[in-house]
């Protein structure tokens, strides 16, 4: 495409870039054992949790930052990060969400996530856990979920109310020393969501967590743990935004999913962290470890992600398919523009018999961005009859963006079947001219082309969010073709 026709579609101002001015309880910068003890003490955690953190910290100190992702960034000074920052509360414990600082409620309202009792009525099918910097500020619909036996709360609260469940499952999918950022998260995580769906229960509504980074010097290290017991079923969605700062903020999360026999977990992400400006200044470093364990027979874990924000994205939501006949799915849209960099994909580890996995990845690169798909499909020696199907498509907008595909296949079983398809296309002058000749403006054309390209993945999102995600994609590309 000529330089004049490809310039303007992601330069839409980031509308979530505001900062909320509130009093905070912030600990000193830097990381050491005392800081970890301080975080644990502030949260009044049981002893096992402190041990977990210290063990992770010891491992982290011996590890080095991974260099293999296809991304570039200056060294991170881990001693210059604030590991805990929480809004100050006048009372020790809030009785209801309506007692939360109005400035925070207003923040979430501006983000389109109303939390107060009256406002919530409009959105009755989704329960929300809202996380502001390091802490959960409240969870909606707790009572209604409780009637069904579903536990949905912040992980801090779960550590107080259900420590035995947290102790049993935390770190079983992503061990403390799994990788550099997971180890860091295990040492310092401040909050996150906890979901427990008991045996035979189908969760009566969508669950979601909304992550908001507000403080400019704070890292966000959240930890999410979802357990679906035998025959249980849940659909969970997370959304993320952050203000615009010139500096980079680190977001290193860990998500663990556990599905027992016949359980079904659907995990969807719409990620719109601040991506930095068009010259690559500022933005979130999104270094995330997400993994699901299909422990039981016939269990299913499905990841759907729409990644549009962050300066750098490094994440590989994965499935470990242990139970016979278990199913893993990964549907992904990763859109990069300007100077964004993404190295994202999945791992499907087939261990049990007749396990099946599907990978559909759609990468869109515009501006001067770099967008890489990296995926591993592993067929273990006992995975008789296992099957994988992977499809990785890339779309380039303009002449200066980069798209890469790094598929790794490791088959230790000759009775397993792996299929891989890949394609690269480009939104070019001729396509846009065809639309223009039918009277369709360039922006509408790009948004139709992109949503057409992403259709297979958008269809996997819960209905409430599919339209929103589609709109987000067009917004993000606004001005990338000009």
């Amino acid at each position: 495409m000529s330089s004049t026709t490809v310039k303007n579609l992601v330069n839409q101002p980031y509308k979530y870039g505001f900062v909320t001015d509130i009093e905070t309880d912030t600990i000193p910068r830097g990381l050491n054992e005392d800081i970890i003890r301080l975080i644990s003490a502030k949260k009044n955690e049981p002893e096992f949790m402190l041990e977990f953190r210290l063990k992770a910290y010891k491992q982290w100190q011996k590890m080095t930052e991974p260099k293999w992702p296809h991304v570039e960034y200056p060294p991170i000074d881990y001693q210059d990060i604030i590991y805990y920052s929480a809004p100050k509360q006048s009372k020790e414990k809030l009785n209801s969400l309506d007692e939360v600082d109005p400035a925070i409620l207003e923040t979430f309202e501006k983000l389109g996530i109303p939390l107060s009792e009256q406002k919530r009525l409009a959105n009755v099918n989704v329960a929300v856990d809202a996380i502001f910097d390091s802490v959960s500020i409240g969870t909606t619909f707790k009572e209604k979920l409780g009637e069904a036996g579903v536990i949905f709360c912040s992980i801090s609260e779960a550590l107080q109310e259900h420590p035995e469940l947290v102790k049993k499952y935390l770190g079983t999918v992503v061990p403390v020393g799994d990788n550099y950022f997971a180890a860091l998260n295990s040492a310092v995580f401040s909050d996150g969501s906890f979901v427990f769906i008991p045996k035979g229960v189908e969760c009566p509504m969508e669950l979601s967590t909304y992550f908001r980074i507000n403080n400019g010097d704070t890292g966000q290290f959240e930890r999410t743990l979802i357990i679906a017991e035998e025959g249980a079923k849940v659909s969970y969605l997370e959304g993320c935004t952050a203000p615009m700062y010139d500096s980079n903020q680190l977001h290193a999360a860990v998500v663990e999913l556990i599905a027992l026999d016949n359980a079904d977990i659907k995990y969807s992400t719409v990620q719109n962290w601040y991506a930095g400006d068009e010259n690559g200044k500022g933005g979130i470093y999104n270094f995330v470890t997400k993994r699901g364990l299909c422990q039981g027979v016939n269990s299913k874990i499905s990841w759907t992600q729409v990644e549009t924000g962050s300066a750098i994205t490094w994440k590989y939501p994965s499935c470990v398919l242990i139970g016979d006949n278990s199913v893993g799915e990964f549907y992904s849209i990763a859109l990069t523009n300007n100077k964004q960099q993404a190295d994202t994909g999945t791992k499907m580890i087939h261990i049990g018999k007749n396990t099946r996995s599907t990978i559909i990845s759609k990468g869109i690169s515009a501006g001067k961005s770099k967008n890489s798909y990296r995926g591993l499909v592993k067929m273990g020696p006992k995975a008789d009859g296992a099957r994988n199907y992977s499809q990785c498509d890339s779309m380039l907008i303009g002449d200066t963006a980069e798209a890469n595909t790094f598929p790794y296949i490791q088959a230790d079983n000759d009775r397993a079947k792996v299929e891989h398809e890949a394609s690269t296309s480009k939104i070019g002058e001729d396509q846009l001219f065809y639309f223009a000749q039918r009277g369709i403006s360039e922006e509408d054309a790009v948004s139709m082309l992109v949503s057409g390209f992403c259709k297979d993945v958008l269809n996997e999102l819960p209905m409430e969010f599919a339209a929103e995600a589609d709109k987000l994609l067009s917004l993000k590309l606004e001005g990338s073709v000009g």
Partner: protein
Amino acid sequence: MSEVILSVKDLRASIDGKEILKGLNLEIKAGEVHAIMGRNGSGKSTFSKVLAGHPAYEVTGGDILYKGESILEKEPDERANEGIFLAFQYPIEIPGVSNLDFLRVAYNAKRKYHGEEEIDTFDFEDLVEEKLDVVKMNPSFLERSLNQGFSGGEKKRNEILQMALLEPSLSILDETDSGLDIDALRIVAEGVNQLATPENSSIVITHYQRLLNYIEPHFVHVMYDGQIVKTGTKELALELEERGYEFIDELVEVGA
């Protein structure tokens, strides 16, 4: 006297610095069908793209007046919404965008441009189904991705369907006959004929006389090296068919 739809004056245009149109003149009135013939590389397709405003071509001289106004400064989508329609020689395949959605967005873009209210999905479906008859298309085509996996004939019929829907004042058919078997050619040509009215006009670009058996032109122009070198009636097309383009070479040499 009928209205002048298109008036092209001494038009010069180039791509990547290479001049393709070298002073082209043409006038088309409402109700007229003009055929443009000529060898490969004579500038026929370039002319159609320049009329529609393709960004790769630079107009270096002359003017294009559409309904009395210069359109050189107008964007391709504005020209389209003003009623200039190009039936492409190679319609683009667009995966994931349904034919029906594409048609609806195009139709509503035009309505919006003219300050009319957009029409909803249901009313639009009724409208489109009426138009399907023009090109004898099966409604199942509407659900498929735009042009994806369509045969050559299906793609061209789809172009004429869009033309039927958008009701342009000036249609440019760029080698619509290329790659069509005789049945498809007849369906396409009948579609074009049905859409002709005393108010609109069309330019039919073709290599062969064959299409002109079905779409009868009022004028036939021969292009040679970026100019129209000869204009006649449909007999000129027959003469070309008989004597080949060498006849034009001789003609140009004599003129020079």
